[in-house]
């Protein structure tokens, strides 16, 4: 091991959401004095507005810091940030793989929570040295002793001398920095071996092309090298290598075993580089790649349409731009009779979907109509063929289906004991299969369930929150596909099926969902000149029905003193308003009404 290597520390910060991960990162940056405090923006690592607003980190980023320890020696700290949400579990695992250690931040007022645990397990799986850090000790309700005990009892790692800090007030940050030098091992790896580097993130830069973030395990890499991405099988020539400093990228001569840095190689889209892939040299390749590469697939699909049909092209451009930096976003054109031209988009999960929708609306100024999110179903047809279904419109008719399957998630819920009953009821309503229940301590319980993803995306988070006053936390991963009685539910207005409203649902659930949506349609469709029958059906069988009564009043009583301009203006405005309407069959509704129908806010 080179002397340089001995002084490198690669680590991540992991935590449950809101436990103070980003604030701790800020303090570490501050204390290592690599940036002047006054110049530093709050939460430097989160460099997307949206992340800052939501207080979560969406995309991993890394930064290189230097620290002079009490033993007088100078260390290089590579802090690799991780996304904090269940949708990005795979990206988290790759970021962790690039490290030797992890700071596990636990809120002294909240203790260990579902994502604390999930992230700790991920770190343990990656053989990381875990360094617990108890945060928020400045709060009156902080329970440091309790937090230490939970870390030891639940996660099973020693915590009696772990740092207790207030990241917000900058208390005891020095302890954390020292611990990193003393407790986290230096990276192993041999500079003489063939190059092996892990891609843990990438982003698109309009000048440099794709900037690929790597952790070098063996060998070295420099500009001019011809590299091969082992899983992709593609080759590129390295244009530049360097490190991520707090103020930006800094060119370097080379990156060698143990180091974290970036490369550019005239790569055009982030889709050409896969997180988890191994970079090696084309003329002296490693014999095998680093393990754990996985292609991530979208789990949730939804149709996205511009509210104004004329902006279809703008929507396509916007999606393409977002995809430059987000390889997990997929989309393809789709046409709906009701909504016109749009895209079927695939996301890692609900949060990912919300983030994309929000960015489209905010950064690209688009008004969107989105259809209800759908998971991917698998169907064995009587013909012997198996198909995957990401769009309700592709769902086969009942007589074509041999067996239908839906995705099942292995789910962990951590909750105060008071709410166990309510959660069990909820999981049962949502067709959950109980696996087991563990007492974390006298006050908290860890519940394991197998839950259909299609139930999770139907408002599960909100229902969980409302039943536990926000105290329960949820984490899940795909377990596999399970046979299920699935049907497609269609809605007819005035006898015409409105394709954009169709969705796939568990058969026993169809009646209540049909009634609910029919009622919402009734509430949201404005009365028109004619009565509008609303019918929900499975195949040709009608299972719910409502009626929007005909409008009774729409009149201007008076044309006063010969002033006809007012009435003319009123009619012209009314006519103009009609142009914005969407035709659902023969019925006109505003985009707002359409979205209101699809909003899943019933809580049950």
């Amino acid at each position: 091991m080179t002397d340089r290597q001995k002084h490198i520390r690669n680590f991540s910060i992991i935590a449950h959401i809101d436990h103070g991960k980003s604030t701790l990162a800020d303090r570490i940056l501050e204390k290592t004095r690599t940036v002047e405090t006054r110049d530093m923006e709050e939460q430097l690592l989160d460099n997307m507005d949206l992340e800052r607003e939501r207080g979560i980190t969406i995309k991993a980023r890394a930064v290189r810091l230097s620290y002079k320890a009490k033993n007088g020696e100078e260390y290089i700290y590579n802090l690799i940030d991780t996304p904090g949400h269940v949708d990005f579990g795979y990206e988290v695992s790759r970021s962790l793989k690039a490290c030797e250690g992890a700071l596990l931040v636990v809120d002294a007022t909240q203790g260990v929570e579902a994502q604390t645990l999930a992230n700790a397990y991920l770190a343990i799986d990656n053989d990381l040295e875990i360094l617990p850090v108890i945060n928020k000790i400045d709060l009156a309700s902080a329970d440091i002793v309790g937090a230490r005990r939970e870390i030891e009892d639940i996660i099973g790692i020693p915590a009696e001398d772990c740092p207790a800090v207030s990241a917000k007030n900058g208390i005891n940050i020095e302890d954390v920095l020292e611990k990193i030098a003393t407790d986290i091992p230096a990276p192993k790896g041999d500079i003489q071996n063939p190059l092996k580097a892990l891609i843990f993130d990438s982003h698109y830069d309009s000048y440099l092309g794709v900037v690929v973030y790597i952790r070098v395990f063996d060998g070295m890499i420099r500009a001019g090298d011809r590299i091969r991405l082992m899983a992709q099988g593609s080759e590129f020539e390295v244009v530049e290598v360097g490190t991520m400093e707090p103020f930006g990228l800094k060119k370097a001569d080379m990156l060698s075993a143990g180091e974290v840095g970036y490369i550019t190689a005239s790569i055009k889209t982030v889709g050409d580089t896969r997180v988890g892939d191994t970079v090696t040299l084309a003329n002296n390749p490693a014999s095998e790649p680093l393990d754990g590469f996985r292609d991530v697939h979208p789990m949730v699909y939804s149709g996205i349409y511009p509210a104004d049909g004329a902006r279809y092209g703008d929507l396509r451009d916007a999606l393409e731009k977002l995809q430059l930096n987000d390889a997990s976003l997929v989309f393809e054109p789709e046409t709906s009779v009701a909504l016109g031209f749009g895209f079927r988009c695939g996301f890692l999960g609900l949060l990912h979907m919300e983030i994309i929708e929000e960015r489209l609306e905010r950064e690209f100024n688009l008004d969107l109509i989105t259809t209800a999110p759908s998971v991917i179903y698998k169907v064995d047809l009587r013909s012997g063929e198996t198909i995957m279904i990401d769009n309700p419109s592709k769902f086969p008719t009942a007589d074509e289906i041999q067996t239908a399957y839906e995705p099942i998630m292995k789910s962990t819920i951590i909750t105060p004991t008071d709410y166990v009953g309510g959660i069990m009821d909820l999981c049962q309503e949502r067709r959950g299969v109980f696996i087991d229940m563990k007492y974390i301590d006298t006050e908290r319980v860890e519940l394991h369930y197998e839950l259909p993803l299609n139930e999770i995306i139907y408002d599960f988070f909100d229902a969980l929150k409302s039943r536990t006053k926000g105290y329960a936390s949820l984490d899940y991963e795909l377990k596999g596909y399970k046979p299920s009685k699935l049907v497609k539910l269609d809605f007819m207005l005035n006898g015409d099926v409105v394709d954009a409203l169709s969705f796939i649902v568990f058969e026993d659930r169809a009646y209540s969902r049909a009634r609910k949506i029919a009622e919402k349609l009734k509430e949201n469709i404005p009365r028109q000149l004619f009565e509008i029958p609303i019918q929900a059906c499975i195949g040709s069988k009608i299972i719910a029905r409502e009626t929007v009564k005909a409008m009774r009043k729409d009149v201007l009583a008076k044309c006063y003193g010969g002033d006809i301009t007012r009435k003319k203006k009123l009619l012209e405005k009314q006519k103009e308003g009609k142009k914005k309407m969407r035709k659902l069959g023969s019925v006109e509704v505003t985009p707002e009404a359409f979205m209101a129908v699809l909003r899943l806010d019933d809580g049950n």
């Binding site: 004619f530 409008m551 009043k553 729409d554 009583a557 003193g561 010969g562 006809i564 009435k567 009314q574």
Partner: protein
């Protein structure tokens, strides 16, 4: 009744105080320090038509509250009219009145000046409803004025009523109707309350206990039913009359016939053009008699014709439409109109097309489809 005679509208833009729902161009008396100048300007404007030899067969004093005019002011305006325009012998001459502002003396002056029709703004016979609306009178005041007008020889009287008033119920509205029907006025105008921006009602809209769309409809249909049983014809969306007592002046608006409007905010349709004097009192007062400030509006005659004519129960004649605009009204609208006929919103009889009672009440939506 096509004639070459026009209507004259005279706007009196002040009242004792403005009602809570009113967004017409009018000022409370306490704000008015230009009353005399206004009357002068008004007369000047009337006289500016002198050279045209215009014949009138209807005159309508609206407001505001024209019955607030003093006898002297009223006579002054009337003499300008007689000096400038040719008033037909059978003219319909209407003055709008607020019950609290009439006296025997004033009514006799009106009568002597040729007024033969009085339009009294009552709105409701119930104390609580009148109070909410911000009216300055009560039902007793109205009855007094009404009797007085009859005694003074005004034979043609309209009563303005309103439905959709906060706190109004089917029952209270029914009582209002019955009390008025007992008097047998020649004409009843019935307006639905609309919350207009800029009015006190609009500001307090969340606190008003309005009857709601369904009750309003029920009131409207109740009125139509009860009035027709008592021999009134529902000849326009908001107007009912005894046979032959339709308001000639207002019919001119709905039949796209020409009229002259004088005074602040008055609208004219004259010489094929629509224009108004604008709403700015200062601008109006500075007008020079040879160069009036006027705001012209685009005229889309076919649009206006359909919009206005369909307010009338008589509707319009398809051949008249063809001869005016050179196209067939049914062309390109056949299916739509058929669906309206089938749904009972419209009716086509021989050459005539019109809205039905049901159609009247959703006329905006129907017009939006037709034009």
């Amino acid at each position: 009744m096509a004639t070459d005679a026009l209507g004259l509208y005279v706007h009196i833009p002040f009242c004792v105080r403005k009602c809570n729902y009113c967004d017409f161009c009018s000022f409370g008396l306490s704000q008015v320090d230009w009353r005399e100048r206004y009357i002068d300007k008004l007369c000047e404007e009337i006289l500016s038509y002198r050279e045209k030899r215009i014949k009138l067969d209807s005159i309508f004093f609206g407001g505001g509250t024209p019955s607030l005019l003093t006898s002297a002011e009223f006579e002054k305006i009337c003499s300008s009219i007689k000096e400038s325009l040719v008033v037909s012998g059978d003219v319909e001459f209407t003055v709008e009145a607020n019950p609290k502002t009439l006296s025997r003396e004033k009514l006799l002056v009106f009568k002597a000046s040729g007024v033969n029709r009085l339009s009294i703004g009552l709105q409701s016979t119930h104390e609580n409803e009148l109070k909410i609306l911000g009216r300055i009178h009560n039902f007793e005041d109205f009855l007094e004025s009404y009797q007085l007008a009859r005694e003074c020889g005004i034979e043609n009287i309209n009563v303005d009523l309103m439905y959709g008033i906060p706190e109004q119920t089917m029952e209270s509205f029914g009582i209002t109707l019955d009390r008025i029907l007992d008097l047998s006025p020649q004409h009843i105008s019935l307006y639905g309350l609309i919350l207009e921006e800029g009015t006190p009602f609009y500001e307090m809209r969340d606190r008003l206990s309005l009857p709601g769309e369904d009750s309003e409809c029920d009131m409207y249909y109740l009125a139509t039913d009860r009035l027709s049983k008592r021999g009134y014809t529902h000849y326009e969306i908001s107007n009912y009359s005894q046979p032959g007592k339709e308001c000639r002046h207002n019919l001119k608006y709905w039949r796209s016939e020409e009229y002259i409007g004088v005074g602040l905010a008055a609208y004219s349709y004259y010489d094929g053009k629509r224009f108004s004097n604008g709403y700015d009192i200062n601008v109006y007062l500075q007008n020079h008699c040879t160069n009036y400030h006027r705001e012209y509006s685009d005229s889309d005659e076919a649009f206006e014709y359909v919009m206005l004519r369909l307010r009338l129960a008589e509707g319009f004649s398809l051949s008249d439409y063809r001869s005016r605009f050179g196209t067939d009204f049914l062309e390109g609208r056949g299916d739509l109109i058929n669906s309206f006929v089938k749904a009972g919103y419209m009716c086509i009889k021989d050459d005539k097309i019109s809205l039905t009672e049901r159609g009247f009440y959703v006329s905006n939506s129907i017009l939006t489809e037709l034009i």
